[in-house]
Amino acid sequence: MNNGTANAHPPGGAPAIELRGATKAFRTPSGALHTAVRDLDLTVGQGEFVAVVGPTGCGKSTTLTLVSGLEEPTEGEVLVGGEPVSGIRPEVGFVFQQDALFPWRTVLSNVMAGPRFRGEPKARARERARDWLGRVGLAAFEDRYPHQLSGGQRKRVALAQTFVGDPAILLMDEPFSALDVQTRALMSDELLELWGGSRSDGRKASVVFVTHDLEEAIALADKVVVMTAGPATVKQVFPIGLPRPRKVESVRLEPQFIELYREIWSCLGEEVRITRERGASHGA
């Protein structure tokens, strides 16, 4: 049954992403030092889909910014493809939680943005952008502006904007959390489909998918990582042996899914409780 993680380590190849004892501390506006991530060890194999779950505000997103190169770790190492991360790498794609489309650009121009920033000729960028807009089902909307689209459509544009860059590493920060429940299930299925056939060389991208929705995590991933209450570090890793291809709506009714859910929730629930109690004691 466990075919989901079969291609996690191709012989001789380095893991796609590796965090070794990574720590990130921020200076808060009041001057205090806030540790978002502490001593984090995490490995993501080539083509592996890893979901990271944890209590709200525990530092899951910070982990992604470290891998993306937007931020540097205060301590420890972050390796992508076996090399330490220094700055933004072209093979990394990032889908944000918030709307990050450029509101003054049309849908087509938004999808073209990445290739154009990287110096691709206009005609070729347009052609590839149109192709991806077609794949996310928005070919008819290329002249619209983002504000004229629904939340789900905007998310599709964001996916196209990311996938058009042919990312080998795909970082997703609660990408569907702002969507309604039905749209969310649809988008999850679409994501799995796009991920399956995303790369030009036929290989799958390695994904880190941050979410606070455990169902979404189990339905999508090969491996679910449970984080502790902040500062975040890895509490436990659960391999998900559900067969692929999956359909999000039907997979969650399977007994194996329910068993996994129960097992992981008993681990995650404790951290959620800790976070909530802390919040209450802070009077927030």
Binding site: L70, Q98, A100, W104, F117, Q161
Partner: protein, 289 residues
């Protein structure tokens, strides 16, 4: 379908159509009412002024009256002013205001964006800009008159200093307040620092900048007029000054009316340009949807 249900449909249909028409009529009536009230208010005010002045309740020499102001405008239009034709005066003032406005806006935008993006520049220049801004800049007009003489240059200079600061502060704020997710996204997508500035920061700052453009064109006119008022060879400000010098109250009012018309026209042009530029923006609630 049973005959009674058909008639019922027809009746509801009619009723619905009747309601839509009634609503449209009500909206039209309201528009007419507002317009009518506006015109009435103006007429009442002007008539009251005219009557009070003619009956000598208020001193017509000091306060003038609408008919004299109208005569003054007509005379200037038909026979020209003491300094030359009226068109030439308007053109002079507009030219100075526009030149000052463009220079001030360009300087304000460039410096605002630069300081908003480059922390070092902001830290070094910040206090000086605050000090300059605290200065009531209109007092610089006499200095400019001494430096640049009676010609347009001194008026342009006073318009520039008035325009620069509001534009600068808005551009600075706009560059600072760019949604950081947009910047992160652009960087992830491979944008260099220069690209981020040109294609993310400047577009998102434009709505901030445009807000200041409206106000600052008014400031440019003030700069030009005050400059002319203090000393000039041509322009509407000079008309005001010379009318004042000959105790011609109607002349001062007439110049004011001309200025108001010019300012409104410029404002209209700006709004038009803004609408074209901001097609990507969602309409304000009520205007769309």
């Amino acid at each position: 379908m049973a005959p009674e249900s058909i008639t019922a449909t027809i009746i509801t249909d009619k009723r619905v159509r009747g309601r839509t028409e009634a609503r449209a009529r009500a909206a039209r009536n309201r528009r007419l009412l507002v317009l009518g009230a506006r015109v009435l208010l103006l007429v009442v005010l002007l008539t009251a002024w005219e009557v009070l002045a003619r009956t000598k309740v208020i001193d017509p020499f000091n306060f003038s009256m609408p008919s004299r102001i109208w005569d003054q405008i007509a005379q200037w239009t038909l026979h020209g002013t003491a300094q030359g034709s009226l068109g030439e005066q308007i053109w002079y003032t507009l030219y100075e205001a526009l030149l000052g406005w463009i220079t001030g806006v360009a300087g304000g935008v460039v410096l605002g964006i630069a300081l908003g993006r480059v922390r070092f520049l902001a830290d070094v220049l910040g206090p000086y800009i605050k000090v300059l801004n605290a200065l009531p800049r209109i007092v610089l007009a006499p200095i400019f008159l001494i430096w640049f003489g009676l010609g347009p240059a001194s008026k342009v200079a006073s318009a520039v200093v008035l325009v620069f600061f509001p534009v600068f502060f808005n551009a600075f704020q706009g560059a600072r307040e760019v949604d950081r997710h947009l910047v992160s996204n652009a960087r992830i997508l491979g944008a260099s620092n220069r690209r981020v500035t040109l294609q993310v920061v400047i577009p998102s700052a434009t709505s901030w900048i445009f807000t200041s453009l409206h106000v600052s064109f008014g400031f440019a006119l003030i700069g030009a007029i005050v400059g002319e008022y203090i000393g000039a060879t041509k322009g509407i400000g000079l008309l005001v000054a010379s009318s004042q010098g000959t105790f011609n109250a109607a002349g001062v009012y007439a110049a004011m009316v001309i200025l108001a018309v010019v300012a409104l026209l410029a404002e209209g042009l700006l709004t038009f340009a803004e609408k074209r530029l901001f097609r990507w923006k969602p309409g304000s609630p009520g205007s769309e949807r």
